[in-house]
Symmetry: C2
Subunit: 259 residues, 2 copies
Amino acid sequence: MASDFTAKAGAPPLYPNQDAVLGRLERRILSGTLKVGDRLPSERSLCTEYHVSRPVIREVLRGLQERGYIEIHPGRGSFVRAVGASDLARPLVRMAQRTGVTPRDLVTARTMLECEAAAMAASRGSDEQIDLVRQALEAHQAARDLTSLARTDLAFHEAVAHATGNPVIAVMFGSIRTLVYGLMLRSLSDRAVLEAGDPMHQTIYEGIARRDAEAARAAMAEHLRLALDLYGEDLDTPLDDVLARRGIQVARLDDELAG
Amino acid sequence: MASDFTAKAGAPPLYPNQDAVLGRLERRILSGTLKVGDRLPSERSLCTEYHVSRPVIREVLRGLQERGYIEIHPGRGSFVRAVGASDLARPLVRMAQRTGVTPRDLVTARTMLECEAAAMAASRGSDEQIDLVRQALEAHQAARDLTSLARTDLAFHEAVAHATGNPVIAVMFGSIRTLVYGLMLRSLSDRAVLEAGDPMHQTIYEGIARRDAEAARAAMAEHLRLALDLYGEDLDTPLDDVLARRGIQVARLDDELAG
DNA sequence: CGGTCTAACTGGTCTGACCGGTCTCCCCGC
DNA sequence: GCGGGGAGACCGGTCAGACCAGTTAGACCG
């Protein structure tokens, strides 16, 4: 409490009350002192704890929310949230709306990423990770309606990315997952694409499970090539427009995937 | 006020004063009504304009700042900011701190991305884009101190990514650029790495300029392989730790790159 | 005409109050 | 005794007005 005196009289360096508190709270979350699901102290408690006023705390919480660290529920409190892949995707989704990403752009990028990812998963993935790929595959094969098909399809590819054991690859795939999901909603509603491309999932998994990197890579390449070939005339139309014609708002896919 | 009986008039949606204002301001920026560099109205003006109080406006501005749309300067005002690649990088930087990304992870991911990018730039890049690669190369060759070397090195690789003409690839590289910059700060301070790897930039550019996709790909692969081979024992140490030992704060690289 | 000093900005922070929603616990009625 | 309902306590959302510290530009003086 002795610090109160000096704080008032002395010279606190600059303004950054706000950022200082933000940094400390962020570290508190990153360091694991506050775990996922935990409730943060109430705004009023944080005020007394950090010796700042409520507006400062509120703006800090707002910042943490924007960064995806916490959820704020009126009447209940603020809760630490798991950092999901969608948080990384959001900036890219915005950019996609600005620069007019086309399905071809997306599939090309996926090919670069996922073919090698499949090979790496085969050669270096742990048994547990590969089992997760299998589970994702089974869930996908059990799916019936369009939304489930797309979600499980996405989960399968995501599982492969994680099976590489390389967090950078997982994150890069995470950054395009929302757009990929949008792509799938369009693709999977086409019977021809579904029948041709879907069986490849099994082939990809078998390659990985056999630890046959080349087979896995080839299967993934074929899978994506089919998607490209069968996509139709919309291949070079901005994804935003393609989905808008089907009544899908790209900006909303995030929430759809989360909820 | 016993008016509650008769008219349970319309449904006041929820709390969303804040989000409503945020949405409207965001659209105002995205639509181009507010251009890059423009100053936003002062907080107090926005209050009267949107009929809300200053705390609401402040939290909204805070949100826009967190999303990278604006900069806030005490005493001067808030200004619309160009959306840079760093905005996409920030989430990944945070994840790198959480999951312990190693130099090997990063170089592996770069290899997947950049080898193909070099090939695409060679086969599909426009003359203008390739000229930008050349300019970046010359700037790099003129650089002397470590910081300049790293910045121009990064700019070169970024130019190649842009020369693919595929915004998704450019954005994916953008998402790792901060980490790559950190990696370069470490690599380029090592004389052996510098002397072995740096000449490859010229080779990469020549391949692209000759429209020789295979040569460009091979040169890029060699360039990255050298980086991997010469990196030393820190190859599997979390990047965060590697840089911390040199007094570099990963979380601060963003600002360093921007400023 | 130039330099300085002030006054009118801007954002940063604080105080204290009120609202509506959420959760819990105690008390009342069955 | 037990279950349901209601009253607070608590939470975040919003508002109003005030003061501080930088920035900027214009007025004033030399």
